[in-house]
């Protein structure tokens, strides 16, 4: 199974994972990662908005998933990414990789998340009491990508 989705509306991670595991029964292990909008005491962020560029964002996600499939022996892959306005607690991204052996699943999920966070076509802004503010790229995100230079 390969499921790559740009979600314009909220999605249900539990429901998605249940369907994913059902479709991946030949796999010995499934690794999943769920990213959600942080909710911390005193955090001034009231909302988060993710924007995309239609012609590139979903095709880029699909190419990334194919790259992971080409490098690790995966039985199934899923990558779901929200766009639009979200509030603390809302799911942003869900990645799941199913493989015969767990290390391939861990590595592929880690690879997908590093790239979704730092090279996928998304722009993020945060809303605080002062209004909306665009989030600048972080150096750490680019450093994370260099871990995967050996993946063609």
């Amino acid at each position: 199974m390969r499921r790559v989705v740009l979600a314009l509306e909220a999605f249900d991670p539990a429901c998605e994972l249940e369907r994913f595991s059902h479709a991946s029964q030949s796999a010995g292990g499934i690794v999943s990662f769920l990213g959600q909008v942080r909710q911390e005491d005193g955090d001034p962020v009231e909302a988060l908005e993710l924007r995309h560029y239609e012609p590139l964002t979903l095709p880029g996600m699909e190419a990334l998933v194919r790259r992971a499939e080409g490098h690790w022996p995966l039985a199934s892959v899923m990558a779901i990414h929200r766009v639009g306005v979200m509030v603390p607690g809302d799911p942003i991204v869900l990645v799941a990789c199913a493989a015969r052996h767990r290390r391939d699943a861990f590595a592929a999920a880690d690879f997908l998340m590093d790239h979704l966070k730092s090279s996928a076509w998304f722009w993020k802004r945060e809303k605080t009491a002062q209004g909306w503010r665009w989030v600048e790229p972080r150096d750490q995100d680019h450093a994370d990508l260099t871990r995967w230079n050996a993946v063609p």
């Binding site: 560029y53 012609p55 590139l56 990414h81 998304f122 722009w123 665009w134 989030v135």
Partner: protein, 81 residues
């Protein structure tokens, strides 16, 4: 005869909106397009890290020739999901 410009991410704030339509008589290079914009916006879209897509395909700044019916998108560095 109209050329649509799209401004992604923080470029939207510089441009004052997510898109803009230019009335064009003929296909224009990026330099000719920049001449039609406010100076601050012209500088912002010319930054080395800003990528450019013509009708959905990434192109080099020097290859841009955009005219009637085209859509030119300016893509600043992404800020992660």
């Amino acid at each position: 005869m109209s050329l649509t410009l799209l401004f992604l991410g923080p470029l939207e704030d510089v441009a004052g909106g997510p898109d803009m339509v230019l009335d064009v008589a003929e296909p224009l290079s990026l330099a000719r397009i920049a001449e039609r914009l406010a100076p601050g916006l012209a500088v912002a879209i010319g930054a080395p890290k800003v990528r450019i897509a013509l009708n959905g395909n990434l192109v080099a700044a020097g290859e841009v020739l955009a005219g009637n019916g085209d859509e030119l998108a300016f893509l600043p560095p992404v800020s992660g999901g």
